[in-house]
């Protein structure tokens, strides 16, 4: 078979959708319809096989699967379905996954229509030069409005939707339309299997037996076990142990991966840090001249201190973070020490969702109780002496008189919302120091707003506030724009005159008073009364800007003795002692981990 004939039968595509629009369900139906998985074997949503993903209904890491599809005309096609993450935190990963494809199914909910993520992902797909096939889903629902949604797709994305598949992924209705559209509309891959190897890494994960398993789309050339590969961004070389394809139920070794194909490579690689998404794999013997375009090393944007609630678990936390990093090149961590919280790590994340996912995985998979400090961003500070420093930890923030200029990161945010919520959302953006750019009517009922917003305003509770002000209808997408000078101050908190380092954070001057008051109140609510009065102060430098007091405890006694039931009394006291052991001693003040969390989880809308 000539390489042309071989490639003609390959379809590399992904499914993109707004969260909840049914991407995973559609993927399941495609797996079923191609009989990669029988109904009986099918555990719901195989592609999303992490518990967390199932609960959140999102895909965290890209996954790919190879399927054989026999079309009604009798021809058999190879489908490589490449799943993509569905959240702005993972935009770069999405773009790389899309670059591994030749086409994309754009799933749109027939009851909801197009939303911010749909658009953002569609633009990414257009940028990647993909053929986009709209799929209108959930047509079984009574509120489905297929014609309206078709119109939206044509008007807002500019692709024809007259004959697009209309399906119910849930019931399986019209799934064959989707399969036929893939065959008909997704272009076969192009490439030259005789050219020097160029394979795009779109995912990699650590397996304790195989080492790092690298998922690639081969653009040109071919690759066999035993050959020496070179990763073009770093120049690192490895000897290939195995190549193969990703089948529905696991890896399947093959002799050779060729141009146009999607598969995996193992090469005794120890760290996913060496196999960055977007990098190009070539052969050491006969390297490609130029790497594939678009590679960038992902940089964490959001930082927080993570501490074990029980100080003795520091080693466990380190081990757990190291295990997670094996599979997550975007996660960074450095040991740090807090007077208040003891030993912990300053961790870097792609965004808030990424941070929440890491926290939840640490808690669930590694059984750790954590205290996480308020998330922050990286600030760029130019000192009086001209030196520029990047600060990801409030503890390292210089004093005001040392600073020439401080800059904070801004993002370009796009918000799509039904028109009735525009006023409330504009207020919100205004309140978060947003700079309004424009407002575009998508149709008579919906608007797209564009703002520049400081990232540190978004990482608090912006998303929750957005949802609550729009009854859940507004959607948000953002990307980093750059750094702008800003009037930033470091806000410190003192308990009984002693500064609690873990509570410090950097905030815009205008926001400092309101937030200081709110946190001081929160502290007051959450610090248990102790035998002495505890003043709580919020300060910028030496200037106190908010003050509260925890009154002294006056009653803590078990008055009654139950007919000589001393055992009960002992148990109560034991319980109290246990509680005290968990307390953090901050100078003279005891604070429970729960109190810390209640204060640190503060959103400033409440």
């Amino acid at each position: 078979m000539s390489q042309n004939d071989r490639m003609k039968k390959i379809r590399n595509f992904s499914i993109i959708a707004h969260i909840d629009h049914g991407k995973s369900t559609l993927a399941d139906r495609i797996l079923e319809a191609t009989q990669a998985v029988s109904k009986r074997e099918m555990e719901e949503q195989i592609l999303d096989n992490m518990d967390l993903e199932k609960e959140r209904g999102i895909t965290i890491k890209a996954r790919a699967v190879k399927l054989d599809y026999t079309a009604p005309d009798g021809e058999t096609y190879v489908f490589n379905l490449i799943d993509t993450p569905g959240h702005v935190d993972f935009n770069y990963e999405v773009s790389r996954s899309l670059n591994a494809c030749d086409g994309a199914l754009l799933v749109v909910d027939a009851t909801q229509g197009i939303e911010a993520q749909t658009l953002a992902n569609a633009y990414l797909a257009v940028d990647a030069g993909l053929e986009i096939i709209p799929v209108i889903n959930k047509i079984d629902l009574p509120s489905a409005d297929i014609d309206r949604v078709r119109g939206e797709v044509e008007d807002q994305i500019g692709i024809p939707a007259e004959d697009c598949p209309t399906v119910s992924a849930k019931t399986g209705l019209n799934i064959e339309q989707v399969l036929e559209a893939v065959v008909r509309d997704v272009p076969a891959p192009k490439g030259d299997e005789d050219a020097p190897l160029k394979a795009l890494i779109f995912d990699s994960y650590y397996d304790s037996y195989l080492g790092v398993v690298v998922n690639v789309r081969v653009m040109d050339g071919q690759l066999r076990a035993g050959e020496r590969i070179r990763l073009m961004s770093t120049g690192k070389e490895f000897e290939v142990v195995e190549v193969g394809t990703m089948e529905a139920f696991g890896l399947s070794k093959c002799e050779c991966l060729r141009a146009g194909e999607v598969g995996y490579i193992t090469a005794s690689i120890k760290s996913v840090g060496d196999t960055r998404v977007g990098d190009t794999v070539t052969l050491a013997e006969r390297p490609a001249e130029k790497a594939l375009p678009g590679f960038k090393a992902v940089q964490p944007m959001v930082f927080a201190g993570i501490y074990p609630a029980d100080g003795a678990k520091y080693g466990d936390l380190r081990d757990a973070l190291e295990k997670l990093r094996l599979n997550d090149a975007a996660l960074t961590f450095e040991p740090e020490t807090s007077i208040a919280l003891g030993f912990g790590f300053r961790c870097g994340f792609l965004g808030l969702l990424h941070m929440e996912i890491i926290e939840e995985r640490l808690e669930r998979e590694f059984n750790l109780d954590l205290i996480t400090t308020a998330p922050g961003v990286i600030y760029e500070v130019t000192m009086r002496g001209g030196e520029m420093i990047r600060i990801d930890n409030p503890s390292n923030y210089p004093t005001t008189d040392e600073i020439e200029v401080a800059k904070e990161p801004l993002v370009k945010a796009s918000i799509i919302t039904p028109t009735e919520y525009v006023g409330g959302l504009m207020d919100l953006c205004q309140d978060r120091r947003g700079i309004f750019h424009d407002m575009k009517y998508l149709d008579s009922t919906r608007v797209e707003l564009h703002y520049d917003l400081p990232l540190n305003e978004i990482i608090y509770d912006f998303f929750d506030a957005l949802k609550s002000r729009s009854r859940g209808y507004a959607s948000l997408d953002y990307e980093l724009k750059g750094y702008e000078p800003s009037k930033l101050v470091k806000l410190d908190f003192l308990l009984n005159g002693e500064q609690v380092d873990a509570l410090s954070f950097i905030v815009h001057e205008e926001k400092a008073y309101a937030r200081a008051r709110r946190i001081a109140e929160r502290l007051k609510e959450n610090i248990p009364r102790q035998l002495f009065e505890i003043p709580i102060q919020a300060a910028i430098g030496s200037r106190v800007i908010a003050r509260e007091t925890v009154k002294a405890m006056r009653k803590d006694v078990l008055a009654k003795c139950y007919g000589g039931d001393i055992t009960r009394k002992k148990k109560l006291l034991e319980k109290q002692k246990e509680g005290k052991k968990k307390m953090r001693q901050l100078g003279s003040v005891q604070v429970s981990p729960e109190a810390f969390m209640a204060v640190l989880k503060l959103g400033d809308d409440d």
Binding site: K555, A559, Y562, G563, G564, D565, K570, L572, Q576
Partner: protein
Amino acid sequence: MMTDKAGIYIHVPFCLSKCHYCDFCSRTRADDETKKLYVTRLCEEIRVFGSELEGRPVADTVYFGGGTPTLLSSEQLSRILDTVNEVFGIDQGAEITAETNPKSADLLKLRDMRSIGINRLSIGMQSVHDNELKALGRIHRFSDFADTYLDARQAGFNNVSVDLMYGIPEQNIESFRRSVETLAVAHPEHISSYCLTVEDGTHFGNRRDSLVLPDEDAVSEMYIMMTEMLRAYGYEKYEISNFAHNGQVSRHNLKYWKREDYLGFGPAAHSFFGGVRFANSRDVEGYLNGKDIKEHSEKITDRDAADEYVMLGMRLREGIDIGEFNRIFDVDFMERYGNTFERFAPEYISIDDRRCAFTDKGMFVSNYILSET
């Protein structure tokens, strides 16, 4: 610590109605047949226990607690006392206490009780204000208490204890002051005054959210005020919640604090004997059916014994005699506990070479300080 004396506790789990705060083992349905059967079971339990025991102690206190023990007839109370006397022997001069509630015993009954040897009465007054009594779910009014109290005096009880409560619904500092004063003027020999604890599973416990109670500052003020007022009337606070006039302490309750031996009979009764703590379950039905309801037994280790000694001894005004502690446990008190307590001196703790005790203010935050040890 072993003596040949022991306190005997008899639990009577019957009441006319259940109060809103009550977490004690009691039931409101009790016909004559049930009571009769209950007394039979009690006497059986005392006999069986006694027969299995080597070296029976002599009872120097007997305490009928409840529930409302005076819902039993004086004949029934007498039968129980006879059984205790038969099995253990009751000391000459033993303190024999019965709890009662206003409206639960008339003059005749009280006379009979006095004549069978009960020499101390503990009356559940709780408050002098009818609105507060109602809010507590008590079925009596203040005037009912006054009747019972006067009847008790007339019946010849010259050692009477009265219960008070504070931190209760509808109460304020002023209303509590009147309760304390009214009671002090009546001049019982002993006063037990408890701060309300809202327990799960009680009427109050099920309504925590809607319950309006005096706040922590008010309750603390009530405690200090009560201590000072009663002191002015000649009462010594010899334990966190107990006041005695002229040294007329509750000898039975002191055994709890001093880790002396006591044996409890009936459901939910607790015992401490020969270094072992054991207890019956709250299963009244099972008890009536003759089921063995022993549910808990714990041999106290030396370390635990020392901790208990401190926890219990510190409830007393006199606190811990450091020399005695060191002798009994062969451990240096100052080394094991002293540092912690010294941190709270002199405001909450008074401590010198011989003695360690809570101050008045310290008593009311005693759990906080004990939980630091």
